[in-house]
């Protein structure tokens, strides 16, 4: 395993330096993240693996601008995040426009059809409905679920739902996508299909993708893997098996 090269500074992508997160105060304080360093370049898909309680979720929340780290720096492209000048409104806009999320379960909005589930993000960003839906259809076509565009989420298979959730994550063309166990509920074939899609999308849109996973089926597909243990990350070169 190699130590993380924290000095790597990709144009775009995401980079964190010396990230710490402490929950609580005084005697009850728990240091969930200790001096975490990580960098993911545009177009790259990296894995983040670690046992339960290692700090994966906390790191994901810090990367996703959901919780603020206690100290350290995070760059999105060349822009420094968490420099005390960011309001909750700014962070919300950041999550909407520049970070895409893919969850273990798709968590599609059940009362919106497939197209509007994907188009919702651009609409929230102020894109006119027509343009947002066109963008959604492009993504659904690219992910091979355009034929289910008018279906409700409950009418889709698990694989289709996950592809729609990937389309949603890509809807605002974010420079970074955070995927939390995206293949956990899927069988091998579908899990590898999802990874293939993520890699294609990373290449096409030059998106930096971080995949948090326990899934042994997909770990060999990463070229780089960050192992997290006791709140610290260690970088490892992956097999990078072809998809």
């Amino acid at each position: 395993m190699n130590a993380v090269n924290a000095t790597k500074n990709p144009a775009g992508g995401i980079r964190i330096e010396g990230l710490r997160k402490v929950y609580g105060h005084g005697d009850t304080a728990v240091e969930a993240l200790k001096n975490v360093n990580m960098a993911v370049a545009p177009g790259e898909v990296v894995g983040l693996v670690g046992p339960s309680g290692s700090g994966k979720s906390t790191l994901l929340k810090c990367l996703g601008a959901i919780i603020e780290p206690t100290s350290g720096r995070m760059y999105l492209g060349d822009e420094l995040i968490y420099d005390n000048g960011w309001t909750s409104s700014d962070l919300r806009a950041l999550r909407r426009d520049r970070i895409g999320f893919v969850f273990q379960a798709p968590y599609l909005i059940p009362f919106l059809d497939v197209t509007d589930n994907v188009a919702l993000l651009p609409m929230l960003a102020g894109v006119p409905n027509g343009q947002a839906r066109s963008r959604a259809m492009e993504l659904l076509t690219a992910l091979d679920v355009a034929h289910r565009a008018k279906a409700e989420p409950s009418q889709l298979s698990g694989g289709e739902q996950q592809r729609v959730s990937i389309a949603r994550a890509l809807a605002n063309r974010p420079p970074v996508i955070l995927a939390d166990e995206p293949t956990a509920p899927l069988d091998s074939e579908r899990a590898l299909a999802v990874m293939r899609i993520l890699n294609q999308m990373a290449q096409q849109a030059q998106t930096a993708i971080i995949v948090v996973t326990h899934d042994e089926k997909i770990i060999p597909t990463f070229k780089r893997i960050y192992h997290i243990r006791d709140g610290q990350t260690v970088e490892e070169r992956g097999e990078g098996r072809a998809l």
Binding site: S57, L60, K61, G64, I66, I67, R92, A93, L94, R95, R96, D97, F101, F103, Q104, Y107, I109, P110, F111, L112, D116, A119, L120, L121, M123, L124, A125, N129, E152, R168, D180
Partner: protein, 397 residues
């Protein structure tokens, strides 16, 4: 931007429709209660207007004849007719009792004793004619259910219904039956045969009324006991150009009677007679509003709890708090709107068959709609509070 609330309502329309139906029936009851109050006020106004009187002359220090009992002698009318400014004056009696129709069914009515062609007579007829004989004819309000030509029984006597009128009701909402004054006076104070015999025996046993050597005294006293010369009020119409209050004042001063103008009678009927009922209805409206608010709050709250994960996802992907709050608020308002439409339709459908007169006014409907929307908006605050407290991190786990 698409309407998240609208989509959710369309997606779960069955749940919204059923909840809206339940809420609507509650709103229907609320609108009906308001309509009952309006009906009572309208009945009071109808009673005043349809009497055709400008002044009500009643027993001194009473607020008769509708709100309190009033008894004056029937010859008072002659002296009232001679007062300045009086155009017409007529005796009238009012009493409420059960009247038996031809079918044998009892109907609670207010029997009004009138002098034909004088104030107090029903202003217009739907069918038939006015009373033209001095005995045993009646004009009935259509709500009594009596038919033209039907013989109805009031105390001991049968009366033929010769005319039908409408909106002639007592302040309590009982439909009116008009009969000749003499018959009404007899019916109002009529005793049963045993009571009459008992009274005669008592009088005969009294040596003051049964003196030897004074023939006819006992019979005269007994005749006096079994006849009535009392009425409840004298209805007065004033001459044109005279102010009712100017006509009333000398009657009060010189005849030692109470006299009420139309405004005074309205005050008695609306502000005093139905004041307790109005308070009861107001209390019911307040309780119903609270129950409606609790139902809407509970429904919206549970619906929101059922969407916590979706709300967390929405917040995670950058949805503004105002958008989420707006979604919940719109759903509450949508529920209120569905409920109001159901309630309005329900109230309109059941109002005609309601035992009391229900007057559904547009202004009450508009007020009801605004109140419903306000209650729904307030009721949604609890759910909005919960939604805004949802941590976007819950979407990640």
């Amino acid at each position: 931007m698409i309407s998240l609330a609208g989509r959710d309502i369309l997606h779960s329309w069955g749940k919204f429709a059923l909840t809206g139906l339940g809420l609507g029936l509650l709103i229907g009851v609320t609108l009906t209660m308001a309509g009952v109050y309006r009906g009572m006020v309208d009945d009071a106004h109808a009673l005043i207007t349809n009497s055709g009187a400008d002044l009500w002359v009643v027993q001194q220090d009473t607020q008769g004849p509708y709100a309190e009992s009033s008894s004056i002698k029937d010859d008072v009318v002659r002296s009232v007719r001679g007062m300045p400014g009086v155009s017409q004056a007529a005796n009238v009696t009012y009493f409420t009792l059960q009247v038996q129709g031809a079918s044998g069914d009892d109907k609670r009515v207010m029997v009004v004793g009138i002098e034909p062609g004088q104030p107090g007579e029903p202003g217009y007829l739907l069918a038939g004619r006015q009373i033209s004989r001095n005995h045993y004819e009646a004009v009935a309000d259509i709500r009594t259910g009596f038919a033209l030509g039907e013989t109805i029984r009031i105390r001991r006597h049968g009366y033929t219904v010769v005319g039908l009128t409408q909106r002639m009701v007592s302040s309590g909402g009982d439909p009116m039956v008009f009969i000749p004054l003499k018959d009404a006076q007899e019916s109002q104070f009529l005793k049963d045969n045993d009571a009459i015999e008992n009274d005669r025996a008592r009088t005969a046993a009294n040596p003051a009324f049964n003196r030897p050597g004074v023939p006819g005294l006992l019979q005269a006293v007994q005749a006096l006991q079994s006849s009535s010369h009392s009425v409840n009020a004298v209805l007065v119409q004033v001459q044109s150009g005279w102010l009712p209050e100017r006509v009333a004042e000398p009657i009060r001063r010189w005849k030692h009677l109470s006299v009420f103008t139309r405004a005074g009678m309205e005050d008695i009927l609306v502000a005093k007679l139905i004041a307790t009922s109005a308070k009861q209805i107001g209390m019911f409206l307040a309780i119903l509003a609270l129950v409606s608010a609790a139902i809407v709050a509970f429904i919206i709250y549970t619906m929101t709890l059922g969407k916590i994960r979706e709300i967390a996802v929405l917040k995670l992907i950058g949805t503004r708090n105002s958008t989420i709050a707006g979604m919940i608020l719109q759903q509450a308002l949508g529920l209120g709107l569905i409920g109001f439409v159901v309630g309005k339709v329900a109230a309109t459908v059941w109002a005609p068959v309601f035992p009391k007169f229900v007057l559904l006014l547009t202004q009450d409907a508009v007020t009801g709609l605004l109140a419903t929307l306000l209650i729904c908006a307030l009721a949604s605050t609890l759910a909005i509070r919960v939604a805004l407290q949802v941590d976007p991190a819950e979407a990640i786990g």
